[in-house]
Amino acid sequence: MAVKAVEDLKERLAGIVGETSVNDDRNDLLQYARPDGDGHLPTCVVRPVNPEQVTALVVLANETGLNLVPVSSGPPHARGGTAPESGAVMVDLSAMDRIVRMDRRNKVAIVEPGVTFGRLASEASKVGLKALMPLLPRQRKSVLASYLEREPIIIPKYHWDATDPLLCMEVVFGTGDMFRTGSAAGPGSLEQQWEHGEAQKNPMGPGQTDFGRLVQGAQGTMGIVTWGSVKLEVMPSEHRIYFVNDSLERLIEFAYPVLRRKMADEFLILDGTAFATTMRGGAAEIGDLAGRIPGYVLVLGISGYEYFPGERVTYLVNDMADLAKEAGVALTRSAAGVDHLEAERALSGPSGEPYYKHRMKGGSRDLFFLTTLDRVPAFTAAMESLAQEHGHPVGEIGTYIQPIQHGRTVHLEFDIYFDPGSAKDAARAGGLFSAAAKACQEMGGFFSRPYGPWADMAFEACPDTVDALLKVKRVLDPRGVMNRNKLCFKEA
């Protein structure tokens, strides 16, 4: 973009958000680009502080054809969902970071995009609630961004539907029109609704369209969310972590009845490498721990609530022990020297620094998709075989299996660790990453959140879905101003 044009643009943007909230310093812009150096830098970044400013930005984009890329979390932005196109303006929402409401009785909070998991968890705990978290989110990970991307949470019993734990939203569509989804839509303002006992808990609608679902999973291509209500759950009065360390097949056999009966709170399966990266800080410790873990580790939490918490925990432990016996596995309080208390600490908040996926080698290429639990062994076997083909040590791939929707589906993730300082290592990881993505897609892995290069692969498999999504896009962002060229919304 010509210098004059950039200056004109900045002036118009400053007219909306104020001069200090428009920035085109190259060093600042770099943090919005892909960490691998691929792709482009945005023209500038704007930091709105309220929905009115967001609306004005989108209206401006409609007038001028600007490409707006909303982003809420801090760097690194590894997946590419918010990677800017040339000429894009980043709309950094991190300054909108209010927790608008915390409602203990109805177990719900309203948060703005800049609210991180650490803050939400901390505020929720003050009233006896807990935030529903993905596995060790980054310190600056936005709660709303995570939920909007349908990242899995680690407590599948609270994951009733794909939208959870996100409930209602205020969103500025790509047309520049503001909208509220679910029961927040009205009648009445938020304050009036609160007066009448409502708490923005119904995520559906309003009416006969589920607008929230059209915004969720869209990587910012449909509009910009300015706040959302999110489900919280009761902080258990008693909580215990258990481990089951065994072969994947046996763990799966044990997992099915436990999931069906919604017995556990936290419930995730990690291979030795992933387990070590989540529980240990340094590369050497990780290597040591991973080497001592045969097979996979199921980490599960058992809770007791207000009424007779100890008795609840006791019956669950006993019932689960019976199921473990049937499956030929054992429930333990430690795994390869990792104590339940360590795991409790590790899982209760965001990742410490360095980010857990970077602890082993400094970098990670994350490959993830949806499948079902019984199909997981075929994918892990394929991944192992591909790693060998590419000369990537199998022990440097972390495998994370996260049941969602009560266990009907699993998020299966392979984190391919590499040394970002080594071009060779990075290239090898990149090669494996691409080959494995293709192989998993061909095996039926469902790339429901197709970032960056996966998008073409995922959407080629479902042309009818693309046609339908384009219809939605024409309604909510007819001029294509939102996060251009992402998903299936490619410019002609």
Partner: protein
């Protein structure tokens, strides 16, 4: 010619349709078509008919559905599909054709491990459940009863049921979907479209489930759904049971590790406290507020008719109107003991008393009636028909507020002999998803053969709608009415503006009949005629209420232009 002006199909169109479905599966016999025009439920017209369609077809496969829809598009003919077909919203406008999906009644797949079943439109709750219980599984059953289509409530209707506490709400139980779009093209949503697997309905990217439906569905206004994967759930008992009897002669035993209780709360306040605690304790399998007046009416309508003349009896029943029927389902005796202990402790803390219904002969009937969802049609026994207002899904606190207002409105019309006295506050309420949210409907019982009843019900519905607005609650089922949509959309983020735009994209010719979806036209059969009603809200008060609730969200710019 507008499509709705076409009262009889041109012979060449009939022939084209006949070639698709076969002569046995199409008809334009007026007497037969009136079978589709008789819709007394939620019908505000005293004659209880809805417009008669020009023809009815019975497609037997997805391909046939596509072919029929394409013919409609080719010849500019309105159409609407229905499954089990109960309620006025199944009607297509005069001149349109009905796709009766009855022939598509197969259970395509039951994935026991991954807990979903794939069903065609005419698979009812009871027929899937009958296959599931012996496998240790169960499915969500809706308030319309176990004879209702699972697919319809998942894709197109509403979908609340008293197992909501453990089995959620139909639209939230949807995985893969096969959808014949309004233009006849096929859309397979989620993992189905990518890989032919049913386990996920969302993605890639934004979830088209959002376009398919919202809190409620398009009621046939957005094409035809031919297969859907619905979630299935844990059934901790050992299979089904076999006992003689059909309803009140039906006294089966309760299975091991499952129990049914009645928890009677003192008032709305203690009821609310108790319900919040039950949700947080995660101890419910099926539950529902069932006032004794309603139970009495379903079991002994003769007696119920006589009771209003006995004030002491009425007062006694009303003293027990905050009554929760609650089933706990445990996977072990240990769990059963825990759940029962927790429930009793919560009741004690909430000043409620608990009856173990399993100790009474009625217990088995109540238990299995709730599990099998066989009780709902009993509501017709009382006067022939019911109506429902609100259909509210939010917090318990807001529901109970609405419930109080609803009861007041209803009582006024009962006192004027405008509907049947149900002897108590009979809101249908329960927790969803372990208390994540709450469902509340106010049920109205009446005899549709009595014109004054129909008029009173219409009045009560209008008042309830206004009262919902006043209390910041959505219109619930009332939004199926075009006029309500027109009035309330501006108070609800102008949602219908956006829905209509989506409809236009998916159905450019507008042939998938949208009278119960997003149309805002005046349609006689579904209208609430506020001007000619006798409800008690003065016009200036009405204007004030509406003005106060006009959305803080500005009108879409395109609307304003």
């Amino acid at each position: 010619m507008k499509p709705e002006e076409l009262q009889k199909l041109p012979p060449e169109v009939y022939k084209e349709l006949e070639e698709v479905v076969g002569p046995e599966n199409i008809s334009e016999e007026p007497a037969l078509l009136d079978g589709y025009a008789w819709q007394p439920t939620f019908n505000s017209s005293p004659d209880l008919w809805v417009p008669r369609c020009a023809a009815a077809v019975l497609p037997g496969s997805t391909e046939e559905v596509q072919a029929v829809v394409r013919i409609c598009n080719k010849h500019n003919i309105l159409y609407k599909a229905h499954s089990t077909g109960w309620g006025t919203f199944n009607a297509v406008k005069a001149g349109g054709i009905v796709l009766d999906m009855r022939r598509m009644n197969r259970i395509v797949e039951i994935d026991e491990k991954n807990m979903y079943a794939v069903v065609e439109p005419y698979v009812s709750g009871i027929s899937l459940q009958a296959e599931l219980l012996s496998r240790g599984l169960n499915c969500h059953m809706i308030g319309a009863g176990c004879g209702a289509s699972l697919l319809a409530s998942a894709t197109s209707g509403v979908g609340d049921g008293w197992d909501g506490i453990s089995m959620s709400y139909s639209p939230r139980n949807v995985l893969g979907v096969e959808w014949v779009l309004p233009d006849g093209e096929l859309l397979q949503m989620g993992s189905l479209g990518s890989h032919g697997t049913w386990f996920s309905g969302d993605g890639p990217g934004p979830s088209l489930r959002g376009a398919m439906r919202g809190w409620c569905g398009a009621f046939g206004g957005l094409g035809v759904f031919t297969r859907v994967a619905v979630k299935i759930f844990n059934w901790p008992a050992n299979g089904d049971h076999r006992s003689e009897g059909l309803m009140f002669d039906y006294l089966p035993p309760l299975p091991e590790n499952l129990k049914v209780f009645m928890v009677v709360f003192r008032d709305r306040g203690s009821f609310a406290e108790g319900m919040y605690k039950i949700g947080e304790a995660e101890i419910g399998y099926i539950q529902c507020r069932n006032a004794l007046g309603m139970i009495l009416g379903g079991a002994l309508p003769r007696f119920q008719r006589k009771l209003p003349g006995v004030p002491a009896m009425v007062e006694m029943l009303k003293s027990m109107q905050f009554c929760l029927t609650h089933i706990i389902a445990a996977n072990s005796p240990r769990e059963l003991a825990y759940q029962e202990k927790a429930l009793r402790a919560i009741a004690l803390d909430s000043e409620a008393f608990v009856l173990d219904m399993g100790q009474l002969p009625l217990g088995g009937l109540l238990f299995w009636g709730l599990v099998k969802d066989s009780l709902p049609p009993l509501i017709f026994r009382i006067g022939g028909q019911f109506s429902s207002v609100f259909g509210h899904d939010e917090t318990w606190d807001s529901s109970i507020l609405l419930n109080r207002v609803g009861q007041e409105i209803k009582q006024k019309w009962i006192d004027r002999d405008g509907m049947i006295d149900d002897l108590a506050d009979n809101a249908w309420m329960f927790l969803q998803e372990d208390g994540m949210w709450t469902h509340c409907e106010e049920l109205i019982l009446y005899d549709p053969r009595e014109e004054k009843h129909v008029r009173s019900v219409n009045n009560a519905i209008a008042e309830a709608m206004i009262s919902a607005v006043e209390h910041c609650q959505g219109p619930g089922f009332m939004l199926l009415n075009p006029m309500v949509r027109r009035m309330l959309s501006p108070m609800m983020s102008h949602y219908n503006f956006w829905t209509k735009k989506l409809k236009k994209e998916f159905d450019p010719l507008g042939l998938s009949d949208d009278v119960a979806y997003c149309s805002e036209e005046d349609v006689e059969e579904a209208d609430i005629d506020l001007e000619n009603m006798t409800f008690d809200i003065p016009p200036e008060e009405l204007a004030r209420i509406f003005e106060e609730r006009i959305s803080v969200i500005p009108a879409p710019r395109e609307m304003a232009q």
